[in-house]
Symmetry: C2
Subunit: 341 residues, 2 copies
């Protein structure tokens, strides 16, 4: 089975995605294909030997073979022929816009392309921090108390609180407000990225735990539970630079009961249509109670550093993708209404 | 400006969409292009003179020019050239799956194609009856009390109630249960279409009102308010056959205060990112209070029969589509981390 990693995208995290793909190239021993989506959303087949950051930042990638997405997969176009790329399962490795906002999932679902990645609806809900609250609520997982804030609305939560753009991944545009005097600046900063913000109480030094997982053969498979090192919260650079160096990963020191609670909460979330994807859920732990913070439908480098035998697991997931019943169309309805004949 | 109507799709409402497109061909006086998405999701450019139901049911459409969706729009492919179809704005006229579940919106957003139709996120929320409750809630519009039901769960609402598959448009799979004895059969019937059902109390003879609208030049434009003729509720055939005959439309006899209430509720819903689309919201009226029933992001034939000067309004909307800021990618990040060079 050939896998094809799709990375890049019209996204604030375009460059992060390149780093993700380069990292996975070293992690995966079997050869995979690399499909780059550039900022103009043109697709290119990248030779593995060119998987270096400078190949993209110098725009040299434009010399690579251009691809077109059609029914069944990616095709290279020649003057006289169209050749299908020999990939059986694509892996969505685009972070943020295009990759995590449901667009790539839509493209793959529409063109009947097998892929590892979160499907359209759960992707949309996970990508929006307000909708994530709703997802957690209907699957029975707790989250922190919150307020939805539009421009010029009054904040009802007292400082310290945290402001988050509702629809951005990573930590872009997030501000912590510890004192009333910081509110105006923080609002300006966060509203630059989104028209809707989420306000949540901020707990200094709150314990965080990250857990990744996927489903194969109808069974949930989990990673180790990580307790991220943090300086209040992880900013953009901290969050992504670390996946080059898995030695910095710190396993959470939790009792088995709490670990089991985390896995149970993860499974509840995952049951909302996440089949076919490997995701990471980030939780808060407060007084032995767990609260979902966010769902990463495309964690950096697929959170490979949290798993043993990551490569085997990825192929295992690739063999366990959800399939869809095709809708039969018999034209009996239009045949029955003579007025349209 | 040339419009292009996109219809068909891998959808239970594929045939309805064909009828929608044929109906609009008669309604619109200016020439438009017709793009058919067949059940295998191949696209064809249909000559207006072939816009007859039998052209599709006989599969004659396969003789039409095949199109490919790429950056910027649809293209016809020849051996030596790729020619862009001369359309400035496409109109999403696919009902149900593909059209209303966010997939076509994703394709158009991804490939930077201008289109009339609901954008990805509001489409997803409107397509799922449970998420619609959430959308109404965060925009401040009331809905009926409800229960989310999975297989083998207990129904907590007493009959009479109505069962609806959570993610289907139209009235497919909907059952009314008036007596406990009818529950088992009704559940079997509705679970055939979806794994999640919505249970709502059923009010015999409840008053229903439908209102369509769109935004142009930052101003909401509304249709007349329709009170649908009904036999308890509209089934599949009733709902769609009527858009061939707009004389059967019955304007709701409401006082101005209630009409204004409906328009206000519609505007609140629409404010959740519906710019660029013409939608129809269906409401219940109970004791002078209004409740959102459902949002139709692609009403049959775009609910043209509810508007005066529909054609002018469609072009007006086409000139008022939302635009998106392109994300700049400067490669400063990958340039800064020497390890990936």
């Amino acid at each position: 089975m050939n896998l094809g990693l799709v990375f890049g995208g019209q996204s604030y995290e375009h460059e992060i995605s390149i780093v993700s793909a380069i990292t996975l190239k070293d992690v995966l021993k079997k050869e995979v294909k690399f499909i780059f989506c550039d900022k103009d959303r043109d697709f290119y087949l990248i030779d593995p030997k060119n998987m270096k950051a400078t190949y993209f930042s110098s725009f040299e990638y434009k010399k690579s073979k251009k691809l077109i997405l059609k029914n069944g997969g990616f095709f290279s176009e020649g003057a006289f022929s169209s050749k299908k790329i020999d990939v059986q399962v694509y892996v969505n490795l685009i972070h943020g816009c295009d990759g995590e906002d449901g667009k790539l999932a839509s493209l793959f679902e529409f063109f009947d392309v097998k892929f590892i990645g979160t499907r359209l609806k759960p992707a949309i809900l996970s990508y929006d921090k307000v909708l994530t609250k709703f997802l957690a609520n209907i699957t029975g997982v707790k989250t922190l108390n919150y307020q939805i804030l539009k421009r010029n609305e009054e904040i009802t939560i007292k400082p310290p609180f945290i402001l988050k753009p509702a629809t951005l991944g990573s930590s872009i545009g997030i501000s912590i407000v510890k004192d009333e005097s910081e509110i105006t600046y923080a609002l300006d900063k966060s509203f630059e990225f989104d028209d809707t913000l989420l306000v949540e109480p901020f707990f200094e030094g709150v314990r965080e735990c990250n857990l990744a997982g996927y489903k194969a053969d109808s069974k949930m498979e989990f990673s180790m539970i990580e307790e991220p090192n943090k300086d209040e919260f992880l900013d953009f650079d901290q969050k992504y630079l670390r996946f080059s160096d898995s030695k910095t990963i710190k396993e959470a020191n939790l009792d088995e009961k709490l670990k089991e609670k985390l896995r149970k909460a993860f499974s509840k979330i995952y049951s909302y249509g996440f089949d076919g994807s490997l995701i990471r859920c980030d939780f808060f732990i407060i007084d032995d109670e767990i609260y979902l913070n966010e769902i990463n439908t495309n964690p950096g480098s697929l959170a490979h550093y949290l798993f043993d035998n990551f490569e085997d697991r990825l192929y295992d997931l690739a063999r366990n993708l959800p399939s869809y019943k095709k809708i039969e169309i018999d034209y009996n309805y239009v045949k029955s209404i003579s007025v349209y004949k």
